[in-house]
C-alpha cells in the first residue's frame, strides 16, 4: 500500500534511526565501562574467627585490635575483667578509635570524640554509639560475630 503524504520524510526517518542507534550503542558501551569501573562491593564480615589464647589473656582495662574485614575490631576487657568485642571505628567519620585506660573511655583522635565503656557517645561529634559484637569460645577458636548472627562453622 502506498501513502501519498507522510508526516516524516525518508531523511528524518533515517536521521532519527541513525541518531537513536548511535545513542543506544554508546550508552550500552558506557554502561559496560561503568560496570567495570565500579567495584563489586565486598561486604563487612558477619563473623571472624580468632585464636582464643591471644585474646582472652589480655590484662583488664585494655584492648587488643583484630582485623574485622578491612576495618579494625577491638577486643576489650574492662576493669572488672568482663570481656567484650566491638568495632573500633568511630561512628562519626570512620576514624579508628583507641581505648584510654586512665579515663576508661574510648577516644577518637580525629575530631575528639569520646565514648564511654559501654560504647555510648558521650562527647564530641559522634552521632551514634559504637557497635558491639557477640563472641563465643569454642576451644581454640574465639568467634566474634555481629549481634544476632548465628555462626555455623564448617566441621573440619
Amino acid at each position: 500500500m502506498k501513502i501519498d503524504y507522510s508526516l516524516i520524510t525518508r531523511r528524518t526517518f533515517l536521521n532519527t534511526l541513525f541518531g537513536g542507534w548511535l545513542v543506544a550503542l554508546c550508552s550500552g558501551s558506557a554502561y559496560a565501562l561503568l560496570k567495570f569501573a565500579f567495584p563489586t562491593l565486598g561486604k563487612e564480615p558477619d563473623f571472624v574467627v580468632l585464636n582464643t589464647k591471644d585474646f582472652m589473656n589480655i590484662p583488664p582495662n585494655s584492648v587488643k585490635p583484630f582485623a574485622w574485614g578491612g576495618k579494625v575490631g577491638l577486643f576489650f576487657k574492662n576493669a572488672n575483667g568482663t570481656s567484650t568485642a566491638l568495632k573500633g571505628v568511630c561512628t562519626h567519620m570512620e576514624c579508628n578509635i583507641t581505648y584510654k585506660p586512665e579515663d576508661k573511655k574510648f577516644y577518637c583522635a580525629c575530631h575528639k570524640g569520646w565514648f564511654d565503656e559501654n560504647g555510648k557517645n558521650i562527647e564530641g561529634p559522634p552521632p551514634k554509639p559504637l557497635e558491639f559484637f557477640d563472641f563465643k569460645i569454642e576451644g581454640e577458636k574465639l568467634i566474634v560475630a555481629k549481634k544476632g548472627i548465628k555462626v555455623e562453622l564448617p566441621k573440619a
Binding site: K43, G69, G70, P127
Partner: protein, 354 residues
Amino acid sequence: MNCQRLKNWVEERYDVEEIKDFAKKKLVPTHKYEIWYYTGGITLFLFVIQFITGMILSFYYVPHFEHAYKSIIEIVTKLNMGWFFRSLHHWGAQLAIVFLFIHVWSTLLLKSYRKPREFLWFSGFMLLGISIFFGLSGYLLLWDERAFAAVKVATGGAGNLPVIGNFIKAFLRGGIDVTGETLIRFYAFHVSILPLATLFLIGLHILLVQYHGMSVPLSLEKKAHKEIPFFPNLFYKDLIIWLIILGIVVTLATLVPPEIGKKADPLAPAPENIKPEWYFLFLFQTLKLFPGEILGLNGEMIAIILISCGILFFFLIPFFDKKSNRGEKSPLFTWIGIIYFLYFVIMTVFGFVS
C-alpha cells in the same frame, strides 16, 4: 652557524610569515588591574613543574600498599636528588593551588566570566576541581598515617551526599573501606586520568583565552585604554615572573622539605588531631559547625547538601549575574564574591588554629 638551508626547508612547507604576523598582532590591554592577569600564567607554569617532577617520581614510586611508603623513603634517602624533587613536587602543588585560588577570585571580582567568556569560567572551575582532586589523590600515595586517616574522612564525607553518595564513595575507595585498592585507584587518577583531563582542559582554556582575547574590567571598558603587544612585551614580563616563582618553589623545596609520618596501618588508632590539606580545611570546618543531628535528620548530610549548593552556585555564577552580562556594574556579585572569599579565608584560619 648558517641555518639558511634549514629555514628554507621549513618555509617551503609552512607559512612561517603568517605565524610571525599572527604573534605580532596579538595585543593585550594594559590597565591598573593587569597584575591579576599574571596569576593564570603562573598556574600554568607551576603545572608544568608538576608534570615534569611527577613523571620522574613515577620512575621510582611503587603503587602498592606494602611498598608505597618504603619506595618514597628510598626516593628521599637513597636516590640522587630524590629528596629535592619530591619536595619540589609537594611545594609546586601547594603553590599551584594557592595561585589557582587567587586566579579564580580575581576573575570573579573583575567579572571576567561575563558574556562571552562563560566557558572560560566553566573550564577553569573544572580545572580547580581537578587540581583539588590531584592534591587529595597525591596525598594518599605517601601512605602514611595522616594521609590514610584524611582520605578516609574525605571519601567518607562524599558518602554523605544523598542518593549518589554511596556510589561515589565506593567508586573512590574501590571497595567499602580505604585499602590497598584505594591506593591503586588513586594512583591511576593521579598519574593518568587527571593529567590527561588537565591537559585537555588547559588546552581548551587557553584556546578560549586566545579566541576571546583578554577581557577588560567593567569599570575600564568604556574608557580608552592602551594595548601592548603580547609578544615580546608581555611574554618577557611573564618570563620574569615565572623565574621568580621558580626561585620561590625551589627555595621552599630546599628549606622546608615535607615530613613523612608513620606508615599507615588500618588497625592502628587514628593519629592525634588529623587535619586535611589546607585547601580542605574550610570544608572540614564547615562540617564541624553542624551538630550531629538536626530535627532528627543527619546533620552531616544537611551540611554536605548545603556545601554542594554553595559550590554549584559558584559554578553557575556567569548565568546568575545578568547585570554584568549586559555590561552594567553589578555590585551584588562583587559582594557575593567577597563573601565567598571571606568565608574561605576565615574558615581556613579557624581550621588552622583550632
